[in-house]
Each structure stands twice: as C-alpha cells, then as structure tokens.
Symmetry: C3
Subunit: 337 residues, 3 copies
Amino acid sequence: MNQGIKAISPGLQLTSGGQLKHFLTIDGLGRDLLTEILDTADSFIEVGERRIKKVPLLRGRTVVNLFFEPSTRTRSTFELAAKRLSADVLNLDISKSATSKGESLSDTLLNLEAMASDMFVVRHAQSGAAHFIARSVTPGVAIINAGDGRHAHPTQAMLDMLTIRQHKERFEGLRVAIVGDILHSRVARSQVNALLTLGAEEVRLVGPATLMPAAANQLGVKLCTTMEEGLAETDVIIMLRLQKERMESGLLPSEREFFKLYGLTREKLALAKPDAIVMHPGPINRGVEIESAVADGPQSVILSQVTNGIALRMAVMSMAMSGQLAERAAAQHGGAA
Amino acid sequence: MNQGIKAISPGLQLTSGGQLKHFLTIDGLGRDLLTEILDTADSFIEVGERRIKKVPLLRGRTVVNLFFEPSTRTRSTFELAAKRLSADVLNLDISKSATSKGESLSDTLLNLEAMASDMFVVRHAQSGAAHFIARSVTPGVAIINAGDGRHAHPTQAMLDMLTIRQHKERFEGLRVAIVGDILHSRVARSQVNALLTLGAEEVRLVGPATLMPAAANQLGVKLCTTMEEGLAETDVIIMLRLQKERMESGLLPSEREFFKLYGLTREKLALAKPDAIVMHPGPINRGVEIESAVADGPQSVILSQVTNGIALRMAVMSMAMSGQLAERAAAQHGGAA
Amino acid sequence: MNQGIKAISPGLQLTSGGQLKHFLTIDGLGRDLLTEILDTADSFIEVGERRIKKVPLLRGRTVVNLFFEPSTRTRSTFELAAKRLSADVLNLDISKSATSKGESLSDTLLNLEAMASDMFVVRHAQSGAAHFIARSVTPGVAIINAGDGRHAHPTQAMLDMLTIRQHKERFEGLRVAIVGDILHSRVARSQVNALLTLGAEEVRLVGPATLMPAAANQLGVKLCTTMEEGLAETDVIIMLRLQKERMESGLLPSEREFFKLYGLTREKLALAKPDAIVMHPGPINRGVEIESAVADGPQSVILSQVTNGIALRMAVMSMAMSGQLAERAAAQHGGAA
C-alpha cells in the first residue's frame, strides 16, 4: 500500500488491476477507463428519472464532504449523489472547524479515517491537495477531487464529456472551443486532457493572450485570440466561468470589454456549426460571459450539464469504492498467503 | 403547464383534477381540500407515536429546504417531516451561498431542479416569492410556502386548524380571537382564511387600532381594540408573536404597555369560555404576549401545536408530491395522445 | 417521573430496574453497568468493520444534536454513531439560533420534545446543563452528555476505558497516569471515576500543583508534580489536551515550559512500563503535550480511541433508548393498573 513519495503519479488513482480507487485527475487515465466512467454515469441517469431515486451501492458507507474552501453548489451535487447511492453523508466545513483548533490537516484526516470513513470528497484551494491526501495520508480511503486550486476539477470535466457524448454521440471528428480565462481555470486543464484522450479532433483554447497558460502549446491544442478564429466550424463551445475577483485586480479586462471580445452572443454563436452546443459550468454571469438569449436558447445544454453532474458523480463514487474494496480484498489475500 | 402571468391565481396550486400540487396559500382552497389536509395530518399524528416514526411516501425523493431568511425552528420541522416521509433532504441557507456569487434566483432554482429535486420548501422575506417560483420558475417542482414576507404562512395556519379541531371537534359555532400585531403577521391572514373557510362562526381580530390592516373589514371578521370585547365568550384564543424589532422602532407600544393592554393573563383568560383553548405559534415571549401561568396552564395547547406541526407538514408534502405525480402522468398521456 | 429537585442524583440516569436511560456522568454508575457499556461497545466495533456499517436499533428514532458550544469533532462522532444506528439526525447549533430570539432554553427543549424527538445529545459550557435537562425539563427524552463545562465528558472517558480494556484486557492491577491541566479538564474527572470503579490499582494525576483541583485528594488517587514520579512503572498514560486560551491568560506556564516539564517525549515515556500505552483525546498539539515520535509511535493508541469513540457512542445511545422505552412501557402499565 506504500505509494512512495513520487511526483503526481498516474498510477496513484488505480488499483494494480487497473480499477479506479481514487478520482484525482484525468491525467494518465486511458480512453477505456474514461469511457467506462461515462457508461456507468449513463446508467445512473436513468436512476434520476425513477420514482425512487436510490440505489444501494454505497449503503452503510460513510462519505465525508471535506470542503476546505466553501462551494455550496459543488457540495450539494456530491451530497445528493452520495445520498442517491444510499451512503451516510457527513458535511464538514473545515475552514471553520477542527483545523482552527491548531490541529494539522493530516491529523484531521487520520481521525476521520479512524471513524471508519470510506470516502473523502475534497475541495481545497491548493493545487495537489487531493493527491497529497491519497498518496501520503489516507490511501485506504477513496479520495474524490472536487477541485484543487488551479490544478484540476475532474468531475466537472467528465460531466462535460458526458454531456457532449449525449448530444454528439462520439468524440471523433469533433472540434471543441474552450473560451475565457484559461490561465486560472481548474476545469480547462481537465477538459483538454479528457477531450484529447477521448479522441476529439481539435481542441481550441480561446481568450486573451495574457490569459493563456505557458504550457498550452501542447499537442493537439490550438490557441486562438479571437472568437472568429476560435469558434469557426466548431461542434462544441465550452464557456468558462469568469472569476470577478480577478477582474477587479486588473488581471482581466473589464466585464464590458470582456463581453465585447469574448462574450458569447447570438452573432458569435453563428460562427460555429448550426448544431453546435453551448456549455457553461455555472453559475452563469449573464451579460459577461454569455448573453441570456444564448444561455436560454435552443443550443444551450447548460441544465443538462447539471443533471449529468449528479450521475457522473454517482459513477466515480461507486467505481472508486469498488476499487478500494478490491484493493482491500487483495491486501487480505496477500497477507494470508 | 403555462400558468400565465396573472396575479396570484387560486388555481396555481391545484392540478386540473383539483389535487394540491403546491402549497402556497390558503386563499382559494375550498373546505373539502382543507378538510382533506387535516384528515391526512391526523393519520400522520399516529406515525409520530410509533416506535418507528417513518413512512416510505417520499422515499427516494429529494426535498430542498431553501431558506432565503433563516428560521431554525421552521426549517427543523420541515426537515423532520421530510425525513419521517423517508425523503432525502438538502438544507440550503441561500442567504449565505450561491446567489452571493452573483447568480440570479431563477438560475439557482433551475439548477436545483436540474439536480432532479422534487420539492422546494421556500422561506423568503418577500411576499409572493413562493408563488413566483411556482408560477414562473419551476412549476414541475412541488413548492411549499414556509413563510413569505407578510403575506402567508399557510402550514402554520393549518397546524393551528388541526389543533383546534382536535380539541373542539368541529369549527361550526366556534368563536375565535386572534390577538396582537395583526398588521405585520403573516400567520393571521392565513388563519382568517382557514377559519372562515372551515366554518367558524366568528373571527375577531384583537389589537391596537394602529396595528389593524386596512383590509381587515372583510366579511365575517370583527375588529376589537380591547381584550374585554375581544375575548368575551370565545372558544379559541390565538396569540400572535410580537416582533420585538418593530417595537423598538416605535411602531408598537412598549413591552410593558403591550402586556398591560393585550398580554394574556389569567384574569383576561377568564373572559373567555371556561373551556377555551390558548394557542401561540412560538417562540413565546413570556411576560410580553402571555403570562407563564397561562402558557403552561391547563388551557394551553401550545405544545400540541408543535407536535401537530410535524404531522401537518408531512400531510401537505405528501399531498403536493402526489399532485405533481398526477400532473406528470397526465402530461405524458397528453403528449402520447 | 417526578425526579424532585435534589442535587445531582445518582439515580437520575437509571430506570427503576437499573437500566441506563440517560448518560450524564460516570458518578454513581456501578462496575456492572460500566462493564455492560464496554461489552455493548465491543459488539459495535464489529459493525464499523462491516461492509454495511448499519444496524437498525434506532431506525425511525429522532436524535437531536444540541450544541450550545461548537465542537465539530464531537458532533461528528455522535452524528456518525446515530446514523450507523439508522436514526434520523437533526443538528442544531443552538448558539446561533432559536434562543437568540429570546426564547428560554427550557422552551426550546420542550418544543423539540414536542416534535417527537427521542434523544438529545447535549454539549454545553455550563456544568450540570445535561443533568438539569434530564431532571427538570425533558425527562422522557434520553439525554446524552457530550461535555458540560468542567464537570464531565463521560463518553470520552468511557471510550478511553474501552481502549484500555482492548489493550490490557483487565483493569485490575493497572497503574494509570493522567497528565496535564487536571483542574480545567472535564475528561479527567470522568476518567478517575471510571478507572476506580472498574478496579484500576492506582490512578495518578500528574501536573503543576497550581492545576490540581482542590478535591483531588480523594481515595485511590495519587497526586504527582513531576513526570518522573508520575510515570514510573505505569501501564497507561493519558495525556490531556491543553487549552491554549488558558495558557495565554497566564494560568498555565508557556507552551515551551509546559512541554519541558510535562510534554510526553520518548525519554519520559521510557519511565513507564515497556508495554505502556499512550492516549490523548485529540486534537493533539504536537510539540506541546506530546512529541510527534510518541504520538505516531508504536505505543500510541490515539487513533484506536477515535474508532472506539464511535462504537462507545453507539452503545450508550442504544442503551439509553432501551431504558427510555422500558420506562415508558412501565408507565403505561402503571397507568392501566
């Protein structure tokens, strides 16, 4: 069970048999596994439409929502997902509690593990927090990354993939534009990884040159500084949420300026293919990133993303739990041999 | 499903078959429906006395407590009612979360609906908030009004009716006094509606003339400015809670003055019938609205009101859910035809 | 059911048949009952290791966590314990709610009782709060003391007993040292009671003379002001948590000074028996009460204490519920006779 003190290792989130046991990042996950996640999520979409929206997969399991930075919306989706899997849920707003008594993060987590917790859903302002926990603190607890700093937000990226597949059926041949403040987005990085792994033809990052990450020049990604170039003939447009705080600090142009250049209007949408879909992680800043007529228009799939978010989270939670159980079983047999 | 942009419409909370599908106000609900609510609540009182206080009526359903103004007490009663119906409950203290990120109310609600929520319990400082949501935002989610501004607090009024019926058996022939700050009470308005619809003989509003609403001169309600006039020969005395904040702003007499004129003491209680019951929605300001000897005395049914509050909320929640399901089924058949 | 207005009565927490019906203090509980609690907890430890960590003992029961002072950690353990017993749980952070509207404590509690609550888990800054509630306010609701002022924290003490028994098998012949700020510790008092009742050979209180309670000179307890004297040949070392606030107010020596004199280092640990176990209620102040090498070392059983805490709380909750039911049944038969 010793994971070693390597840098972020692709194998950290997989069992020796290749099953998911944590869900930390899309980096290093193969196409088959991503597809398995999407297929599992598809089966949970049907659960959300049932009269009794429950499956007993995590019955008797304890899921702890560990939010080191507050996010009511993300926490709610994980809470509902866990409850629909029949888990017992404990919400901990860590910013206000235990650690304020001077206890170290690692002691807090070891304590929660000792309470026989099975899964931690972790949201943290620092990049790599979820990895650190999975690798060095509580490897026997399934860790689900619910957003860590600028690094990754893999469930958000995967629910986007689920939504794209629903509407476009396959990733092959798709041209996808990701628009906005790429540099500060934890989602964009995860989305690029997922899209490329799943076989999208072209991923374009669209935004002001100052907001492009230095490492964006990787294989298969095209950088565009205008919407004309960025949206032409695309199948999917993913708008990123603008962090207003960053704007105020002068790192971004003004809201009005941003909207003029990169806001998604009906006119700009017309640059894309006629059946292009429009996505946004929410909450929407109407009139800043996107015009209401587009957000509420026929090409918008923004509310499908929300619905899919529950199903996708149910999928990774149940898969990671299975992976942990497989690993525990293997460890017991190993010990007995 | 288009409800139109009418003023508060009586039909808004009913299905085409006359079933409850939201519970927004007592206005416009007929005697049969109010009686059905009370009968259903009666059946749930027995559940509260069981060893296992659970029924599976909302099993697998998601109930969201949407409190735009905080009220721990009211939220707790709805939370317990939902859990005893076996629902999954999500508590959102909206004043502190999502909307603070600049998201509109309507976007927040559409997001929650997209998470496959079945019911919103809404508390809002603004009159008409629950109606607005039911009519214009999420008509397919059952909306339960848990208090909106000065307008209505229909579950409180109905639990009072349940308590009256328990002790007096029928409404015919009853004389009921409602005492206090009528003008600012969201409960009083709902109570008057319910009492008149259920057939009470006389409803008296008792308080300082300055605290009587302009529209109080309606059919069947008698205005009284003294307790002598107001309580004489009554069967039921409903004390309203005094909002201390209003007193401090000079709109009300001082606490001492108020108690002298309208506080319920043993002496004043003696003006009513010997078997009159005393009610109060809680929390009580002892020595302001009511003397402890009366609040804790043999004629007080204040704690029965609390017990009945759970049963009544279980009743409207389960009825509104049934109504929504009936409407969904009808819509599907309509679509198939 | 009239308990009378006596001082803290040993019988208050027992039914006439000698069953636990509240869990307020270890004072006055006999060895058989303490042993029954430990045996019951042992049976729940196995539940924590199951795939489905649930037993239906409190199914349909309503447990209210009434925290008048915040303690996320203690609240979480009770919440998990209640959920694993299948109870419905309501968390009330009373410091922020109802009572702030001017309602008396007693009215708040009577209201919660009227909502058909079965159990209150009470945390309060004032000594005797839980007793007061059990005796004078809601005797028909099972009251579990989760820490009251400096008085008692009986579930913490009993989980320590459970941990000692797991590692040492029996209490006879054991020498136990309790180290730190004895004067301000609500746990120490409960621990001494439990250890003496269960038959430990010697209990030593170790700390600065200024932090010894005046009444510490009771039978069987030995006061020690140095670690050399206090730890020699002990089987169990219980470190108390240091309240940093008290240090800052000058009541305690500085952290550095305290650590030098009473901090548990490997050197001081060597004074105890080689197989002595090291305990701490958490959260740990590393480098103040205890050195990391000891806290994480082979003799530390600190994380076992956490695991045992859930099982122990499940035990007292289910036993107190049984006691209440027995008493209710007896009262009904009494009434029928």
